[in-house]
Symmetry: C2
C-alpha cells in the first residue's frame, strides 16, 4: 500500500485517520494485548463516517435521535475508544485510553455498553453487533412511525468483519433486514481478507457481495482507504431504499510490518515496528500525543451535531406536556402505572373463575390486557406464533407497509430474533418480548447471555417447557434449560404455575430495566392454584407458601410451574395419611435469593422433610433442598435425570415418575 | 395441482409415492399429532431418490459404504419411517408406523438415530441435519482418501426445508461445503413456500438459489413432483464437482384440502379430508394398507443395493487381515491399544519434569503423542488454531487438494463446526475433536446437546475457560458454562488441573463411543500438581485425593482445573497454622457420580469443613458441599457470582477474591 500517496491525496483526512491508528498502536502497546489491525484498517471509513455523516453530539451522548454506531467487530475496540476520545466524549479522556484493558477502565478489551456512553452495544462475540443492528433499525422504524420523523429519524451504522459474516447469526440478521427493507441500516464490511488463522480463503469461498444481494440488500464495493469513495458510498447507501452493505477493501494493520497478515489482527507491540509504522504515517508524536490541530478538528466533528440536537430539543419541547412525558417515559423505559392495575384485575378474575389453561395461554391472557396499556411492547415469535401465544389482537404485524405494527414474524431464526431483541432494548423506546420453544434457548443462547451481561431487559417467552410437550420428543423437550438459565448471572427465570403467577411474572418482567427475563411456560393445561386473590405480587418474593400444612408440618414440597399442581395433589395424598404438608411455589429463584433470611426462613424452615418437584434436572435444587437449613438425609428430588422421549405427555410423566404418588412416596421414605 | 395428470403421467411412480403419502396420513391420524404436509410434498423426490439413486441395502442398514440419507426437516419424520417400512427394514414393520409417536416406538415424533437403524442422525431442531451433512461428506472424503474408493465412495443426500435454510447454522454449513467443494453432498430444498406462521414471504425475501450460488454451490431448480426432472437433476448433481442444491418446487400436503397452506404443515387428522385426499390420489386402501404390488416394488428397491454390497464385502475381504482389522476398528470406533501407553508415557514424563504450562498447551502435548497412533482423529478450530492448540504437526490441513489432511480450519463458525463434528461422528470411521473458546459453547450449544442426545462421542476442546483469560473481558469469560455443560445429560465435562490430568482426560474422551466430552482448558499457565507418577488413570475416578492432610483432617478443599493449584496453596497456608487440609481434585463430576458410595465416601468423608474453589458459578457444587455427607454450616464456596471483567488475569483473580488466602480464610471462618 502506498501510504505516501494516501497521505498526500487527502492530508487533512489522513491526519485525522492517523490519530486513530496511532492511538490504537499506543494503547495496545501499553496494555501489551489487544487487536491493532482492525482499527488501523478501518480508520479511514470511521473518519469519513464520523466527519461527514454520523448525527451525534459528543457533549450529549444519549441524545435519543442520534445515529447509532455499532462496532460489530468488537475486538477492534480501540477504534471506538479512539473516536470517543477524539470527538470529545467526557467519559473518554486520554487517561482512559492509557488504561486500555485494565481493571476499572471504560476501555475494556471489548466494548461494553454498560461501562460508558457512546458504546451502543457490547460486542466481541462475533456476529452479535450486526444482528443487534437489525433490532436497532426496526426500533427506529417503529418509533418513527409512532412519533413522527421530527422526533425519530436516524441511521444505524455497523462495522462488521469477516468473522461477523461467517457466523450463522449474520445470515439470520441480513435476511431479516432484507425482508423488512430496513433502509436506514448501513453496514460496512471490513473486507481485509484476514482472519486469525490466516487468509479468508482458508475457510471460506463465499461471495459476500452476491450473498447480501441474494438477501435483498443494496451493495457497493469500494476502496476502504479512499475518503471520497467512502463518502460517496455512504451518500448512495442512504438513498438506496434498502439496507445497504458497503464492501470496503482494506488493508489490516495498514502501514505496519504486519499489514495484510493474520499477525496484524492481534496485538502489535513491537516497539521498533510501532515506530516504523508511525514514521511511515508521517506521525512524529509521542505515545498518546495528538497534535492540537488534529484534536481540534476531531472535536469540531464532535460538536457538528449540536445544532441539530438543539433543533430536535426544540421540536420535542413544542409538544404538549403529556406527549413529552410519554416520549420521555418511553425513552427511559419506565413501565406505565396502568401495568399494575391491569395485572391485578386479571389475577382477581383468574382466582375467581379458576381457568384451567396452559401457562402459554395464561401468558397470552396477560398480554391481552398489558399490550393495550403499554404501547412500547413489541412482540414476536420465531415462526411459532400460534404455539408461543405471543400475538395479541391489537398489535398489528410489523411490515414494510405497516411500520406501526408491533408483532414481528421473526421466521425460523431464534438467534437472530434474540439478538435483534437486544438491539431494540438497547435502542430504547420499545420493550421487546418474543417467543420460541424453551428447548431452543440453545439457539438463542449467545444473545440471551448478552442481554444479561449488557444489563438490558428483553423478555424471552419460552413455551413448551418440559416433557409436558409430549410427542415431539427429546429434541424438543428441555430438561437442562432451567438450570442453564438459572446459572446465568443477572437473569430472572420465571416458571409460573397458573394464570395468576404468569400475570405476576409479566408485571415483574416488564418492570425491569437492567435484567432480562425468561418465562418458562407450559404447552399443557394447568389448574389455577392461586385460588385466593391477593393484590400483592407473590412472584416478586420468588417463593412463597402456596398451601400450609394441616396439623403438624412434617414435609415441605417445593415446585415450580406445571409441577406445582402435582405437589398440591401429593399434599392431598399425604394429608390423607396424616402427614402435614406445606407446598411452596418457587416461580423465581433469583428473586427469592434476594429476600432477607427472615423471609426465606419463614418459607423454608428447618425440620421438615423437603422434596422438590420439577420436570428438569436436579442441578441447582440442592441449594434449597440441602442448603437453607435443609439436610441431606431429609431431602429428595422428583424430576428428570435423562433426556425425555416421544409419547403423549401424561404417559411421559408416568414413565419418568413425576407424579403425585411418586412425590408422596418420596416424602414417606424420608420421614 | 392436477393430481390426475401427475398420476397418469407416471403411474408406477405415482403409486409408490402415494404409499408414502397414505402412510403419513394414516400414522398422523392414529397419533393425532405430527406433521403431514412435508412427507406428502416431498414423496416424489424421496421416491425417485430411493428408487434410482440411493445406494443402500435394506437388509444391511449399517453397510458402511451406503449412501447417507438425512432428513434435515425432521418434523416430516413419517417420510423416513415410510421409506424404511416400504423398502423392508427389519426394524420397521407396519406396527411401528401404527405406533407413531407412542412410548417405546422407534417412530418417535422426530427421527432419533439411537432408536433405529436407517436413521443416520437425529433431526428436528432445524438446520442441524444440513449442518451434520457437511461432516458426513467430509468424513467420506477423508476416508476415501485414506482407504481408497473401492471401500469408501458414497453420497450424502439431504432434504432440507425453509426452516433449515433460515437457521443461521445453515449458512455456516453451506459456506463450508462450498469452500471444500464437497461434491458428494446433494441437498434437496423442499421449496414449498410455507412455514408454520404462513407463507415464507412473511419472514423472508431471500433468494435461496442465489444464496447457494454465492456460497459456491451448483444449483438446479425443478418441479419437485416430476419424477423425470428429479431423476435428471440428481444425475446432474452427481456430476457437478461441487456440492449441489436442487430447489424442488413442491406443494405441501399435496392433494389434501390443506395443500399449500400453513395448516398443511401440521397434523392433518380430519377423517373426511383424509379420505378425500386418498380418493384424489386414487388410493382405495384402508388405513396402513399397502397393496402387495406396491409393497413388492418398494421392497425390490430395498434389495437393489445388495449386489453392490456383496461386491464391496468381497473387496473388503480381499484386503490383508491387518488392513481389514484396522478398517473394522475404525468403523466400530474402538480406540487403539496404543492410546493407553502413549498417555502413560506422557504422564510419567510430566510427573518427572513438572512443566508449568496452560492446560490448552497440555492438551496439545497430549495430542502430539495421541494423533500419530490414532489415524482416525480429525482436529480443528473455529479460527483459533493458535489459541486452542488443537493442531499437531502430523495432521496436515484438510483441503480440496489434500483430502488426507486431518485438521479442519472451520472458520468463525462454532455452531457449524460442532454440527459437522456430529456428522463425522455419526458417519463413523473418524473421531472428531475441535476447539473454540469455552464461552462460545454458547454458539455451539444446539449441536453439543445433540451430541449428548444422539449418544455419539465428539470431543469439544474449549480453551480460555475462565476469567483467567484476562483482558478480553466478560464477553469471553465463561462463568456459567461449566454449570451448563454439567447440567446436560450424557456429557462428560473435564476440567483438568495439569498435564497429567489433561492427558488422562484425553484418554477417557477418546475411548468413549456413546458420550461426548467437553475439555475445559486454561489459557494461563499452571504448575504440575500430579508430581508423583501413577499409571492408573485417576481422572477416570472423577475425583480423588490429590494431597492428604498432615495430622488431623479438619478441612477438605475441592477444586478443578486452574483452581487446584490455588487449593494446594491454600492447603499450605492452613497447614502452616496447624489446620490439616485435604485437597480433592474433581476433574470430572460425572465420572465421580458413577463411583460406588464406598469410593465417594473415602474421598469426601463426613466431618471436615468443605470448601470448593472454582472460577465459575456455584450452581451444582452444593451437591458436593452440602450433599455427600456435607453440612451447610461447614461448607463454603470460593468462585464467581457475576460476570467477569477486562483486566490482567492475576488482577481479576485478586479482585474477584479467588485466591489461596481467600480459601484459607473461608475455611477458618467455618471451623
Amino acid at each position: 500500500m502506498d501510504i505516501d500517496a494516501l497521505r498526500s491525496a487527502h492530508p487533512d483526512h489522513w491526519s485525522k485517520a492517523t490519530a486513530i491508528r496511532a492511538l490504537t498502536l499506543d494503547a495496545v502497546a501499553a496494555a501489551n494485548s489487544g487487536h491493532s489491525g482492525m482499527p488501523m484498517g478501518m480508520a479511514d471509513v470511521a473518519t469519513v463516517l464520523f466527519e461527514k455523516h454520523m448525527k451525534f453530539d459528543a457533549s450529549q451522548p444519549t441524545w435519543f435521535d442520534r445515529d447509532r454506531f455499532i462496532l460489530s467487530a468488537g475486538h477492534g475496540s480501540m477504534l471506538i475508544y479512539s473516536l470517543l476520545h477524539l470527538t470529545g466524549y467526557e467519559q473518554f479522556p486520554i487517561e482512559e485510553l492509557k488504561n486500555f484493558r485494565q481493571w476499572g477502565a471504560r476501555t475494556a478489551g471489548h466494548p461494553e455498553n454498560f461501562l460508558a456512553q457512546g458504546i451502543e452495544t457490547t460486542t466481541g462475540p462475533l456476529g452479535q453487533g450486526i444482528a443487534n443492528s437489525v433490532g436497532f433499525a426496526m426500533a427506529e422504524e417503529m418509533l418513527r412511525a409512532q412519533f413522527g420523523k421530527k422526533l425519530v429519524d436516524h441511521y444505524t451504522y455497523v462495522i462488521a468483519g469477516d468473522g461477523c459474516l461467517m457466523e450463522g447469526v449474520s445470515e439470520e440478521a441480513i435476511s431479516l433486514a432484507g425482508r423488512h427493507q430496513l433502509s436506514k441500516l448501513i453496514v460496512f464490511w471490513d473486507n481485509n481478507n484476514i482472519t486469525i488463522d490466516g487468509k479468508v480463503e482458508l475457510s471460506s469461498s463465499t461471495d459476500q457481495v452476491a450473498r447480501f444481494k441474494a438477501n435483498n440488500w443494496h451493495v457497493q464495493e469500494i476502496d476502504g482507504h479512499d475518503p471520497e469513495a467512502i463518502d460517496a458510498a455512504i451518500t448512495a447507501a442512504k438513498k438506496a431504499g434498502k439496507p445497504s452493505m458497503i464492501a470496503c477493501k482494506t488493508h489490516i494493520a495498514l502501514g505496519h510490518a504486519a499489514q495484510d497478515t493474520s499477525k496484524g489482527h492481534g496485538a502489535l507491540t513491537d516497539a521498533g515496528q510501532l515506530e516504523a509504522a508511525k514514521a511511515a504515517y508521517g506521525w512524529n508524536h509521542g505515545a498518546f500525543e495528538i497534535p492540537s490541530d488534529v484534536k481540534s478538528a476531531w472535536e469540531e466533528i464532535g460538536r457538528r451535531g449540536s445544532e441539530e440536537r438543539f433543533a430536535w430539543e426544540g421540536r420535542l419541547g413544542a409538544l404538549s406536556e403529556r406527549k413529552q412525558e410519554e416520549f420521555q417515559r418511553r425513552v427511559a423505559g419506565d413501565a406505565p402505572k396502568k401495568l399494575a392495575s391491569v395485572v391485578r384485575a386479571l389475577k382477581k378474575q383468574a382466582s375467581e373463575t379458576l381457568p384451567k389453561v396452559a401457562t402459554r395461554k395464561a401468558s397470552e391472557m396477560a398480554l391481552e390486557v398489558i399490550n393495550p396499556v403499554m404501547p412500547e411492547t413489541v412482540g414476536g415469535s420465531a415462526d411459532l406464533t400460534g404455539s408461543n401465544n405471543t400475538k395479541t389482537g391489537d398489535l398489528g404485524i410489523f411490515d414494510t407497509d405497516n411500520r406501526k405494527g408491533r408483532f414481528v414474524h421473526w421466521g425460523i431464526r431464534e438467534h437472530g430474533m434474540a439478538s435483534a431483541m437486544n438491539g431494540m432494548a438497547l435502542h430504547g423506546g420499545v420493550k421487546p418480548y418474543s417467543g420460541t420453544f424453551f428447548c431452543f434457548t440453545d439457539y438463542a443462547r449467545p444473545a440471551m447471555r448478552l442481554s444479561a451481561l449488557m444489563q438490558i431487559a428483553p423478555v424471552y417467552v419460552m413455551t413448551h417447557d418440559s416433557i409436558g410437550l409430549g410427542e415431539d420428543g427429546p429434541t424438543h423437550q428441555p430438561v437442562e434449560h432451567l438450570a442453564m438459565c438459572r446459572a446465568t448471572p443477572n437473569t430472572l427465570v420465571f416458571r409460573p404455575a397458573d394464570v395468576v403467577e404468569t400475570a405476576e411474572a409479566w408485571e415483574i418482567a416488564l418492570s425491569q430495566k437492567g435484567t432480562p427475563s425468561v418465562l418458562s411456560l407450559t404447552r399443557q393445561g394447568l389448574p389455577t392454584v392461586r385460588t385466593e386473590h391477593k393484590s400483592k405480587n407473590m412472584v416478586a418474593q420468588g417463593a412463597y407458601v402456596l398451601a400450609e400444612a394441616e396439623g403438624k408440618r412434617q414435609a415441605i414440597l417445593m415446585a415450580t410451574g406445571s409441577e406445582v399442581a402435582i405437589a398440591m395433589e401429593a399434599k392431598k395424598l399425604l394429608e390423607a395419611e396424616g402427614i402435614g404438608t406445606r407446598v411452596v411455589s418457587m416461580p423465581c429463584w433469583e428473586l427469592f435469593e434476594e429476600q432477607d433470611e427472615k423471609i426465606r426462613k419463614r418459607v423454608l424452615p428447618a425440620g421438615p422433610v423437603r422434596v422438590a418437584v420439577e420436570a428438569g434436572v436436579r442441578q441447582g435444587w440442592d441449594k434449597w433442598l440441602l442448603g437453607e437449613r435443609g439436610r441431606e438425609a431429609k431431602a429428595g428430588f422428583v424430576g428428570m435425570s435423562s433426556f425425555g422421549a416421544s409419547a403423549p405427555a401424561e404417559e411421559l410423566y408416568e414413565k419418568f415418575g413425576i407424579t403425585a404418588e411418586a412425590v408422596a412416596e418420596k416424602v414417606k421414605s424420608l420421614l
